[in-house]
């Protein structure tokens, strides 16, 4: 159990990333592709937080905890992840705006049809 747990979170992060890439490559709809990209993004959050975890520790938030009374997990990776979650959402919005624009210009959001249109 313990030996498996030592790599399981990393493996899950790798799996989530790969399945997102698979969806991205086989997608027939750009909106679906943007959703798959969001899945890929979440893999990076899982990986970062898994790196920062410490067994038996708690969050480094001292509003209801005396400093030093309990071991705490790594705050640096949490700060990186936290900003990226919100910024990632606006980047998703930008990609969705591009999708709307493509559908206006070409009348389709299927990448294969778009390739045919280009000639």
């Amino acid at each position: 159990m313990s030996a498996v747990l030592h790599v399981l979170p990393y493996l899950i992060a790798a799996y989530v990333f790969l399945i997102g890439c698979y969806g991205l490559a086989t997608s027939r709809n750009l909106i679906h592709a943007v959703g798959c990209l969001a899945v890929c993004q979440s893999a990076t959050y899982v990986l970062l937080l898994a790196v920062g975890y410490r067994d038996g520790a708690t969050a480094p938030v001292f509003s209801d905890l005396a400093p030093g009374s309990r071991p705490v997990v790594d705050p640096v990776v949490q700060a990186l992840t936290l900003t990226d979650v919100v910024v990632g959402a606006t980047v998703t919005a930008l990609l969705l705006a591009l999708t709307v624009q493509i559908s206006k210009r070409h009348g389709t959001v299927d990448p294969d049809e778009l390739r045919e249109l280009r000639g």
């Binding site: 890439c21 086989t26 898994a50 938030v61 790594d74 705050p75 606006t90 919005a93």
Partner: protein, 271 residues
């Protein structure tokens, strides 16, 4: 390249990547290990600056410059959306009929709106004390405003939300972050250095020097950015109609009945 050939190429590349990733995972430090040199130093530094939430301290003090980069990505992404989704010359606005919303749902939306807004402000204000901060609270406050659209209709949302004001506030709060950074330079230390204000009492709203101010600037920036972003998307989805699409839509039926047609089929083909 045919679909089949492309799928094989993806599987080939993907399995190679998978092998590399698994090999890398096996060599990473074990999950849950006790050695976190950066984390321990960050906690010590946060406590020295009397910031109760270490994550806020990392974001707005120790790595405030990095957060400025994130903020500019956010700003640029919103700017890109505004440009991409603006009303084109061959488009015009056609306000939809008011939606009929069941009375209890509307009452729920109208009474939850202020509660959610105040919760968002609470999350922003207590960013340097308890879990939360400008990024999270800003999104909550902006989402709360859109209960007007969900529980009533788009016209009602437009009455309480002048988009231009939010665009200006977005730019102002981004500027406020930079000004706070340069204030450090003028005071004789470094850009975004947390030496400007007294550190205050640990675990109160005024503790942590410039952390609460930067936090509030980010909160306002994120809230306004999300409102502007959703305003553009709602304009496109609800109000803006292209000339030829509108005519065809009005000649036939109202266009919504056929809407499962094309994309639905594309979706099914892909499975």
């Amino acid at each position: 390249m045919s679909r089949r050939a492309r799928l094989w190429l993806v599987l080939l590349g993907g399995s190679g990547l998978a092998a590399l990733l698994v090999a890398a995972c096996l060599r990473l430090p074990a999950f849950g290990g006790a050695r976190h040199p950066y984390g321990d130093r960050a906690v010590a530094a946060a406590l020295a600056r009397r910031t109760a939430n270490t994550i806020a301290s990392v974001n707005f003090d120790q790595r405030a410059f990095d957060t400025m980069g994130e903020m500019s990505i956010l700003f640029a992404a919103v700017l890109g959306c505004v440009v991409l989704l603006r009303q084109a010359r061959d488009e015009h606005r056609d306000p939809p009929r008011p939606a009929e919303v069941a009375a209890p749902v509307r009452r729920y939306a109208l009474s939850t709106l202020p509660v959610a807004l105040v919760t968002g402000l609470y999350v922003i204000a207590h960013g340097q004390l308890s879990p939360g901060g400008g990024f999270q609270g800003g999104v909550v406050a902006a989402t709360a405003l859109h209960l007007m659209y969900l529980g009533a209709d788009y016209a009602a949302l437009e009455r309480v939300r002048p988009v231009e004001a939010y665009e200006i506030a977005d730019a102002l709060s981004a500027a406020a972050y930079l000004v706070l950074g340069f204030a450090g330079v003028l005071a004789g230390t470094a850009f975004l250095a947390n030496t400007l204000l007294p550190l205050g009492t640990f675990n109160t709203l005024s503790s942590g020097g410039t952390v609460p101010l930067l936090n509030a600037a980010i909160g306002m920036e994120v809230a306004c950015a999300v409102v502007v972003l959703l305003a553009r998307f709602l304009d496109q989805a609800v109000e803006i109609v292209e000339e030829n699409v509108r005519e065809n839509g009005k000649n036939g039926d109202n266009g919504t009945n056929g809407m499962d047609g094309k994309n639905g089929e594309n979706g099914e083909n892909g499975e």
